[in-house]
Symmetry: C2
């Protein structure tokens, strides 16, 4: 049995908890939280401890599944955990991945531990598709589309506007852009050509809706380069929408091997629950890290470095006989 | 530079030749053929040698890309090549993969060489999707669809019928089955529920078309369990169709993480040229085998064992910075 620790119990921690419970080759040693452990009632009846107790479990946990956020939690804590444990995380700040990788690689090698970073569906499953597709069809173009799904960063940006009570923002792939890519025409598409942004906004009493709409649509980086739809709705509707965490997207490689022969490779995900699926991916990579660490691998790795056989509970013989 | 040898120059050998020519980090030491080397005019001006000369190149080739067929060529020759060279092949007789793997693994380990088997799009890219999807969404069902594309085995079976001059058979995914899978309803589908078979048949003078059609449609294993369409056409039309080698297919994983939350993962390939794309995949894995062999890896491996970073000519730093 692979002994797992779960660090953090938000939406992702709950998803990981469900996935670890489903895995017959794993047992959960504990959920570790910054909250009062008594106050936490997890979806599965696993033991709950204060994060301060984590050090006591050194040597008793094969891999820690880190369920904190990329903005502050992971950059400030993963390096510390790595001194005593192997880890898997979902670090998704793409621009900072090289720096994060180098820092963790050094610490993990010093302490003889193994860290898999940037695991989930993007980065993660989508990264595998981008890299594999590009390697097997080198003459071509990549297209990644996200959604339909909620962008937390864009929702936050709207909520910071004066007069806004609550808001949620959906990133939606443009149908005409998807069709253009699928046609094999290899269009040049900026991010704003591929997606539209739909916002549902609840305002405070007396707020200037026209000004709020203008502020959203002209916000640099976030909305200015996009077709943006703003809907004013009740606080209840925003809250109802915030309960649904569906997401998904597409990775395409459109290219050719000769002038006469074009090829189109496509991966798509339709996810009813982003955190539950991400948690399931994190758990499969937890299995991989536990196995690789047992074989003596140390340092920092990504989805590019890990042979996928390690993700499965099946034996290599069964994988070859039934899935190859 | 990675030094490559290409063994066999049929449709796949031609595809590999084009792909090796496109790869800036590879050079082709030679194409090795059973034919008279003088008679062969490859698509790229690489040196051509008789296969009898291959042994002379021991130590001068990093990897051999084997472009023979799975029925007789690969089972009878790969083991011999492996005594002196690292190899990549496209062995695709699914039922015989375990036996083939075990035989080659033993020989490769004895001779300190490395063999990647069953590389292409199925087995190969599709295998990666099936395995990865199942590992990250363990509670669910797999569906693989092939086509639209030519099945060589089914075309051969028709050609063996009395009175048939020439024939070509297409395997075509059934639209209603694709829709049922995409709906998330997790239907139970036999292979015959997922595909229909369309045949284009040219008959000899005076042949009994009604009897030929009945013989095709009732042929056990090949057609009896399928919806089969038989079109009688001219020999010229069959020959024209035999020039086009397009293919493709779909791999789905439909499953859930909780009763409320279903997920659908889909990979699809649309290939204008099956042998050119397969050749491109084989070439990328040739790069991987050359790199892994240099690191001291020996034995037999499949797409499940090879970290995908090895497929790319880019550095690990570039992969992390740009594709993760």
């Amino acid at each position: 049995m692979i002994k797992v620790g779960i660090v953090g119990y938000g939406n992702l921690g709950r998803g990981v908890t469900l996935a670890v419970n489903y895995a017959k080759d794993m047992e959960c040693v504990g959920i570790f939280t910054r909250r009062n452990p008594e106050s936490l009632k997890p979806a599965v009846d696993f033991p709950v401890y204060s994060i301060d107790k984590l050090k006591d479990f050194k040597g008793q946990i094969d891999v820690l599944l880190l369920c904190g956020g990329s903005a502050t939690d992971l950059p400030s804590t993963t390096a510390e955990y790595l001194k005593d444990f192997n880890t898997v995380d979902s670090f998704d700040t793409h621009a900072k991945i090289p720096e994060y990788f180098n820092k963790l690689d050094k610490i993990a090698k010093e302490h003889g531990t193994l860290s898999a970073i940037s695991i989930g569906w993007d980065p993660g499953v989508f990264s595998i598709a981008r890299m594999l597709f590009g390697a097997v069809l080198p003459n071509g173009n990549d297209y990644t589309f996200w959604g339909k799904g909620v962008s937390q960063g864009h929702s936050d940006a709207i909520r910071r506007i004066d007069g806004v009570q609550n808001a949620i923002q959906y990133t939606i792939p443009k149908e005409e852009a998807l069709l253009a890519v699928r046609s094999g025409s290899n269009p040049k598409l900026a991010t704003g050509d591929k997606h539209l942004r739909e916002c549902f906004v609840a305002v405070k009493d007396g707020a200037d809706k026209a000004l709020i709409e203008k502020t959203i649509k002209e916000m640099p980086n976030y909305f200015a380069d996009y077709q943006t739809i703003v809907n004013f709705v009740t606080e209840e509707e925003v809250k109802e929408r915030q309960k649904k965490l569906s997401h998904g997207g597409f990775v395409f490689r459109s290219g050719s091997t000769t002038d006469e022969h074009a090829h189109l490779l496509e991966l798509s995900l339709k996810l009813d629950s982003n955190p539950e699926f991400t948690g399931s991916v994190l758990t499969a990579y937890g299995r991989a890290v536990a196995k690789m660490a047992k074989e003596g691998v140390t340092g920092c790795v990504t989805a590019f470095d890990i042979p996928i056989k390690y993700l499965s509970p099946l034996s290599n013989e069964d994988l070859r006989a039934h899935l190859l």
